[in-house]
């Protein structure tokens, strides 16, 4: 290459070139940059490079990029606007490095400016898009939270002589799980309760969850038999609902009737994990309700019925499989693969309703990110009769 073509490349190459003293004073500017800026190149000599940047960009340059260049020896793809002689803004990318003298001190700054008008427009769009996504995500979370809250009872209404406690663990901020539960009066002597889990997630699951809650509450008013209540729900779920997903849920429905100081409990289970009973004597066991079909799943379902007595000091704990299926972090192991939940119940018995729910809450916290699905917990406990009452 001849000196002439090197000189031509420096002057007329496709980017602006600039040499400055370490303090930023311009020594030489190439023809391309002086043309972009509309300055006679001699007019720029001796001026500060940062004076060519917009006021806001100059603050950024003088407080950050300039010191960065001096201390680290290079700048890579910095975004600034230069101001032309006529006041127009030129979006550019700056790349620079430092020529070190033989004494180890900086001698000159070599600065290259690339026209970034198109890229800048694209970046602004990207920035705008990023802001929009953040706003949308916020809206989705608020929406999901509102929907989730609408599907849970605002307050539990236990009969006198029974304590109730509940907890809902949300696995994802921007999705709605299908867990549901309730506790409500039917007559002066009888209360109904249920807890279940609709298959799937998201808006379609939320639709089924809402329907299931109201179908159960309505069916409970007309039928004393928990198994029949589940059959009524089954009929509703088998109707054409206009949703795509499989329309089924696992659920336990039960009635509570006051007797002496405790409650007679009748439950029906449609394929739901069995509740735990924590007894006053410190023992614990599963309620015998294993089996039965999920509600809405097969044409002729069979549900499991069982009855027992909840005495003073006893607590019944219902939960969804987000708890038993939580990953422990050990290989593919799930929390309840080896009977951990029953051991957990035994170690906490006897417990009040709120004590049992609090213990499950602590357990879920300890499982942390391993809890991949929503978890609903409902505990019904009969307080011990205090002596003298």
């Amino acid at each position: 290459m001849t000196d002439l073509s090197l000189e031509d490349f420096w002057e007329n190459g496709p980017c602006g070139q600039l040499i400055a003293r370490p303090d930023g004073r311009i020594v030489r500017v190439n023809a391309t940059l002086s043309r972009w800026l509309g300055y006679d190149r001699n007019a720029l000599q001796g001026r500060l490079f940062s004076d060519l940047i917009t006021a806001g960009g100059r603050i950024h340059y003088d407080t950050h990029f300039g010191p960065l260049l001096r201390m680290s020896g290079e700048l890579n793809g910095v975004t600034v606007d230069l101001v032309a002689a006529d006041g127009a803004r030129l979006p550019i990318f700056l790349t620079a490095n430092v020529k070190m003298g033989s004494d180890g001190r900086p001698e000159l700054l070599r600065i290259t400016a690339v026209d970034a008008a198109d890229r800048r427009a694209y970046e602004r769009e990207l920035l705008e898009e990023r802001r929009r996504v953040a706003t949308e995500q916020g809206r989705v979370q608020v929406f999901a939270e509102t929907l989730r809250r609408s599907l849970l009872p605002p307050v539990l209404s236990p009969p006198s002589g029974l304590d109730a406690a509940d907890y809902y663990h949300t696995a994802s901020d921007d999705d709605v799980g299908g867990d549901f539960y309730d506790l409500f009066p039917l007559t002066r002597a009888k209360w109904g309760f249920f807890l279940g889990d609709v298959a799937g997630k998201g808006v379609e699951a939320a639709v089924i969850t809402g329907l299931t809650r109201y179908a159960l509450r309505a069916a409970a008013v007309f039928d004393d038999d928990p198994v029949q209540v589940l059959h009524n729900l089954h009929s509703v779920l088998r109707q054409k609902l206009g949703v795509q997903d499989d329309r089924f849920c696992t659920v336990i429905y039960g009635n509570l009737t006051k007797r002496d100081n405790g409650f007679d409990v009748e439950i029906a289970s449609g394929g739901h994990p069995p509740p735990l009973q924590l007894l006053a004597d410190g023992s614990a066991h599963y309620v015998d309700s294993i089996g039965g079909h999920a509600v809405g799943l097969v044409a002729e379902p069979r549900f499991i019925a069982t009855r027992f007595y909840l005495a003073p000091g006893d607590t019944l704990v219902l939960y969804t499989d987000g708890l038993t299926e939580a990953a422990t972090g050990v290989g593919r192991e799930r929390y309840d693969d080896r009977g951990a939940l029953l051991r957990f119940a035994k170690s906490h018995a006897p417990a009040t309703a709120s004590g049992a729910v609090e213990a499950v809450h602590v357990l879920l916290d300890s499982l942390g990110g391993g809890v991949e699905d929503d978890v609903a917990v409902l505990a019904l406990g009969v307080p011990l009769v205090k002596s003298g009452e």
Binding site: R25, G57, D62, T63, P67, R70, G73, T79, L127
Partner: protein, 266 residues
């Protein structure tokens, strides 16, 4: 509270020398003091900090509300001198940290001996006859510049934060981590810095103060340096033959000499 972790406190230099705190301004972190540290460490005990939201400060301590005012940063400085039970402290603050130091000295005068304000400005935006050098729209321009330049930040910083990159030599590491601040925190610090008005605090500074300005500094021009000097009761002004806003980088000899002479002066 662990102020060491919160503010990434590093103590270097002569163990029995006078204690000098070095606090960085907006846009960088304590690494910006390196050249001055090299020149002062044989004579002084130097305590370097990163403001919360900058450098290697503890991200868990970030509080957008607290750090939306310079008083929040000043409260951290007061925490540090109390927790470490420091006395006769000489506080050297660069740029906005000069005002942060002023607020800390006013709040806890008993522990500070002197204040050094390196290229300070009590207000960046013009106001009536007062010339700060900038308009409100210039500051909006700065905030946009921050955003545009941080577009690639999260991507570029991921390997550094995760600590998974191969450890190259120190110089490369410096280039990667030097003055890299979390963009969301930098935006808050920028607003706090450039929209603050601390002109009325200058008269309250109760300790001897050295104001160091540069002969040519577009961010803190000479008339601002003169204003700061005139409004602090016991102050002197030194003008360095230097260009730019960071004389600790562009003129480390002169900057170190000015600090050193002032700390030793009676």
């Amino acid at each position: 509270m662990d102020v060491y972790a919160r503010n990434n406190i590093n103590i270097v230099g002569a163990a029995d020398g006078p204690l000098v705190v070095l606090a960085h301004g907006f846009g960088c972190d304590q690494q910006l003091w390196r050249l001055v540290v090299d020149r002062l460490k044989s004579d002084f005990r130097l305590l370097l900090i990163d403001h919360v939201g900058c450098g290697e400060s503890d991200p868990a301590c970030w509080d957008a509300q607290k750090y939306s005012s310079l008083a929040g940063y000043a409260a951290d400085v007061v925490d540090i001198v109390r927790e470490l039970d420091l006395h006769d402290v000489v506080f050297v603050g660069h740029s906005v940290a000069a005002m942060i130091g002023a607020l800390a000295v006013i709040a806890e005068p008993g522990r500070f001996a002197k204040l050094v304000m390196l290229t300070p400005s009590p207000r960046y935006i013009d106001d009536g006859d007062y010339r700060g050098g900038f308009s409100r729209s210039d500051i909006d321009d700065l905030l946009e510049s921050l955003e545009l330049n941080y577009l690639g930040w999260s991507h570029a910083m991921a390997p550094v934060i995760m600590g998974t990159q191969d450890r190259p030599q120190l110089q490369d590491e410096l280039a990667e981590t030097f003055c890299r601040n979390d963009p969301a925190h930098a935006r808050v610090f920028a607003r706090t810095t450039f929209l603050s008005d601390n002109r009325n605090d200058l008269a309250q500074i109760p300790v001897p103060t050295l104001v160091i300005e540069c002969a040519q500094d577009t961010i803190a021009p000479r008339e601002v340096g003169a204003y700061v000097h005139e409004n602090i009761p016991d102050s002197r002004l030194v003008t360095l033959d230097a260009t730019g806003h960071c004389p600790q980088v562009s003129a480390p000899d002169a900057t170190a000499a000015a600090i050193s002479a002032f700390v030793r002066s009676a």
